[in-house]
């Protein structure tokens, strides 16, 4: 006899793996700014770079922390809570991240330690060690995975940025898990003082190629609006943010062609700036 709980967990796990629901469950999204720009962020430098491209940490000059909550399709069981902290230590910038997805019967947690540093005037690199933990109730196996990710950021011109990021690049024989690997590359340009536009592409093992584009526009002083499109699930995104002193608060929304809207809110505090 199957218990109701097992059926729910099974459906949940199956639902997670359905193509079109999410491309790579280990490719975590964090930051409402990123959500508003359709996750076009591999070339960006901000606190959430630990989740997207650790090279972006290199340009961080403050002790900061941030919190994010993402509500996927208005289903609380699919919520993701994320936190990040960064600090400057000499030439390098260090970061620590935590993410929690799921609910009491299925949860996936990730903890990461990151480091980013400039290699030259226009090149920066970063690495991160990740620990994933997946827990399910009942007789299902729990899963722990240790892996890493790395990236580089390049300032090609004063207004053009390029980012490349790789997730879980270890050979299968070393990592002993079937966790997908991922590769992202993108470029963005400050088309004016107010407008930033970018495009990027991403692919994960077993998933289709995704192309994304997004923009960010400072509509009024301290008030920013964002938009974007992703070929994955034909997702349109939009969002806005406001800088209030040491804090930045952002909201982001992403549509799914079948499952509804994902909303995200995040807040960043810059405690001490060099």
């Amino acid at each position: 006899m199957f218990s109701l709980q097992k059926i729910i967990v099974s459906l949940f796990v199956v639902f997670l793996s359905v193509k079109g629901f999410a491309s790579d469950p280990y490719g975590l999204s964090a930051g409402a700014r990123q959500t508003g720009m359709a996750q076009v962020c591999v070339m960006n430098n901000d606190l959430w770079s630990s989740f997207h491209n650790q090279a972006g940490l290199a340009y961080n000059k403050s002790f900061s922390f941030a919190l994010n909550y993402e509500n996927r399709f208005s289903i609380k069981e699919l919520g993701t809570r994320s936190a990040a902290i960064t600090l400057r230590a000499g030439r390098v910038s260090l970061g620590a991240v935590y993410s929690h997805f799921g609910y009491s019967d299925f949860r996936r947690q990730m903890t990461g330690l990151a480091c980013g540093m400039p290699l030259s005037n226009n090149i920066a690199a970063g690495v991160q060690i990740d620990y994933f933990s997946e827990r399910t109730t009942g007789e299902y196996n729990n899963n722990q995975i240790l892996t890493c990710e790395a990236g580089i950021n390049i300032t090609a011109a004063h207004n053009i940025k390029i980012g490349i990021h790789i997730f879980n690049p270890l050979p299968n024989s070393i990592r002993k898990s079937d966790m997908p690997t991922g590769l992202r590359a993108g470029a963005g340009a400050n088309l004016s003082e107010e407008l930033f536009a970018a495009v990027e592409t991403e692919m994960s093992t077993g998933h289709n190629l995704v192309i994304r584009s997004g923009f960010e526009y400072e509509m009024a002083k301290k008030f920013i609006i964002r938009g974007g499109f992703s070929t994955e699930n034909s997702s349109f995104c939009f969002g806005f943010g406001y800088r209030a002193g040491q804090a930045i608060i952002d909201f982001g929304f992403a549509t799914h062609e079948q499952l509804g809207i994902t909303s995200s809110v995040s807040i960043i505090f810059k405690i001490k700036e060099e």
Binding site: V92, V127, I162, I164, P171, L183, M203, L209
Partner: protein
């Protein structure tokens, strides 16, 4: 602890990286991928790498101003060769490789393609320098863990050794090879599975060339004799469209398609004369007969693999004799020649069973071919053509024109017609297939510098097959269209987009009725961006998308290359990470890889998975270089479990 480790890692990266200065031209990589994808000519990519390696070891003396020397850059068009010759004669020596990009008819892309293979030195400074003994030894050891599930006779290592010496006009060398699964030493006398060698004399007088040992030959357009690469390499890549006659030492590793014996080329004023004789043993499958006196050849065995007792029986099973002559006369703007060749097998070729599609394949012992060819320069046109006959109404006809109406525009047109039954055992004519018979078609392409830094090239190739073919039991046609747009806004940045369309006809898979033909349409789009943020680093990102109809199988790929070199050590590194997802083999994607010297690796990626490799080159001294490559391909198999195929390669090159 973590911080320290991270700092060490990043500092190592930052302190010691600088740019990979030797960038393989995208055009070369594109040609290599195209050759690898041509399943009808599996050895072409290897041959291509051999020719390029020959050029790196003996760079073309661009300032010599001699057409014969400059035309060794086989990827240039005849126009480009002529322009270079005229430029050196009229404007003086080229003082910088980058000067080439400013010569009319050339661009930065052409110049980049040439740079690794040319020298600005006209000739050696002294006589003793020119006669000094130069030797090169290259040894490869290659291991792959996925070669076969069946028991093999030898070790899984592939071992290749090449040796070459040059002293003045004399040069020589040998190549020894053992494929994975073959015995290192076998036969009587005990020798490597494949051993090839040559001794050659190059002169400037009447005797231009003498080769004793193994050699390859190409005369005219190649419909008669061409053991090299077929003309018209790529639809959107110019060069090597018109024919160039040559005999050259054989240094490649195809174990069957070369000549063994002697060849010579004589030249008296405007008259050239070549003669060759070859007696070689080639691999074949023999028909089963009780009486050995009635033995015959069932088919030729071309893979060169002798890893089981069955394949060893095929090794050197038949003696093949080839001989021929080539007369060639240069009337200023018109050059014309006559070729006569004959191939004889010790045993008759009797295919069994004879499929309807094989009706026009070669049978018997002897094949004789007569050929007339010409090429002519007239103002901004180059006309070239060839007519070959292998007896009766069996002929091959090729006629082409290369037109350069402006410095920034080049147009080519080629018509080819291989009649039913025309056979050339060692021919490889333009626009033909390796089967080489019973097809006709037309090919056209152009390259155009549409604006500053913007290059557009496009081509179309139509072929008609009046008789049946493999997997197609009715007359059929194939089409191919390609367009390539390249934008090079600066020395550091390159954008390229390519669209390729292919249509071919095959039998419908429905087996329960008389087969009808369906169109297989393959469309591929590629985007490639290369960026060098500094002199110390080159990044390249590539996206491929392919769709096959009617199966609707899709293939996609995201690939990232990083090339760098360590500053404090003479070490270069090439790192690649690629993720692919294809519906099957038919939508698989070919990806050119940096590899050992004198070698290309162009794996076809299909299924779901990723491919990564790291290649390091350590220049130990001016006389020695060590290369090591580790590659891993992970693919998803049943139940999403991952299967990994690894390869490890090591190479030592010594030059004294």
């Amino acid at each position: 602890m973590f911080k320290s480790a991270a700092i060490i890692f990043l500092a190592l990266l930052s302190g010691n990286t600088f740019c990979q200065e030797i960038k393989t031209s995208e055009r070369i990589a594109a040609i290599a991928e195209e050759l690898a994808a041509d399943e009808s000519d599996p050895g072409a990519a290897d041959l291509f790498s051999d020719w390029l390696f020959d050029l790196t070891t003996d760079p073309v003396k661009i300032n010599s101003g001699e057409e014969k020397e400059i035309s060794r850059l086989f990827f240039l068009t005849d126009f480009q060769v002529k322009i270079l010759v005229d430029y050196v004669k009229n404007s003086g020596k080229i003082v910088s490789s980058y000067e080439i990009a400013n010569i009319p008819g050339f661009d930065r892309e052409s110049a980049e393609m040439m740079i690794p293979f040319i020298t600005l030195i006209e000739k050696p400074a002294t006589l003793s320098e020119s006669t000094r003994l130069r030797q090169t030894l290259l040894s490869d050891f290659i291991y792959k863990n996925n070669i076969s599930d069946t028991p093999l006779l030898g070790s899984p290592w592939k071992i290749l050794t090449k040796y070459k010496f040059t002293s003045g006009n004399i040069s020589g060398g040998f190549t020894g090879k053992k494929d994975a699964g073959e015995k290192l030493i076998s036969g009587k006398p005990p020798l490597p599975d494949f051993l090839s060698g040559y001794l050659t004399y190059n002169g400037t007088g009447i005797i231009r060339h003498i080769i004793i040992g193994d050699y390859s030959a190409r005369f005219g357009q190649g419909t008669n004799i061409n053991t090299g690469i077929r003309s018209g390499l790529s639809l959107t890549t110019q060069g090597y469209l018109t024919g160039r006659s040559e005999i050259r030492p054989y240094t490649s590793t195809d174990e069957n398609n070369f000549f063994r014996g002697a060849a010579t080329q004589l030249s008296i004023r405007n008259f050239d004369f070549s003669i060759f004789l070859s007696v070689n043993k080639i691999d074949a499958t023999l028909n089963d007969t009780i009486d050995s006196s009635n033995q015959s050849i069932k088919s030729f065995y071309k893979t060169g693999l002798h890893t089981t007792s069955g394949t060893i029986l095929k090794k050197d099973a038949v003696r093949e004799t080839n001989y021929g002559v080539n007369f060639f006369y240069n009337f200023n703007n018109l050059r014309a020649g006559i070729i006569l060749t004959e191939t004889r097998f010790a045993l008759p070729v009797i295919p069994d069973p004879v499929e309807p599609a094989d009706k026009y394949n070669f049978t018997g012992r002897t094949n004789t071919i007569y050929t007339l060819y010409y090429n002519s320069l007239f103002k901004r046109f180059i006309f070239f053509g060839e007519l070959s006959n292998s007896g009766g109404k069996k002929y091959a006809f090729v006629q082409g024109v290369s037109f350069r109406p402006a410095d920034r525009l080049n147009i080519n047109l080629l018509y080819s017609n291989y009649s039913p039954g025309y056979i050339s055992i060692h021919g490889n004519g333009p626009a033909g297939s390796s089967a080489g018979n019973d097809e006709y078609g037309i090919l056209g392409n152009f390259t155009f510098e549409a604006a500053k830094f913007l290059f557009i090239s496009a081509g179309s190739d139509l072929k008609y097959y009046p008789w049946l073919r493999y997997r197609c039991s009715a007359p059929s046609l194939s089409k191919r269209h390609e367009i390539r747009i390249k934008y090079l806004p600066s020395q550091k940045l390159m954008f390229e987009t390519l669209y390729d369309f292919r249509l071919s006809m095959v039998d419908s898979p429905d087996e329960n009725k008389i087969p009808t033909q369906i169109n297989i349409i393959v469309q591929t789009v590629k985007w490639n961006i290369r960026y060098s943020p500094s002199d110390y680093l080159t990044l390249s990102t590539r996206v491929d998308y392919k769709i096959v109809k009617p199966s609707n199988s899709k293939g996609m790929l995201l690939l990232q290359d990083i090339n760098l070199r360590f500053r404090k050590f003479p070490v270069s590194m090439w790192i690649r990470y690629a993720i692919f997802n294809t519906g099957g083999y038919d939508s698989g994607l070919y990806t050119w890889e940096n590899d050992l010297l004198n070698s290309f690796s162009i794996p076809v990626l299909y299924g779901t998975g990723n491919r990564a490799y790291i290649l390091a080159s350590w220049r130990i001294s001016d006389k020695a270089e060590l290369r090591i490559k580790y590659g891993a391909t992970t693919t998803s198999v049943i139940n999403s479990r991952m299967k990994e195929a690894n390869e490890f390669k090591i190479q030592l090159k010594i030059m004294i």
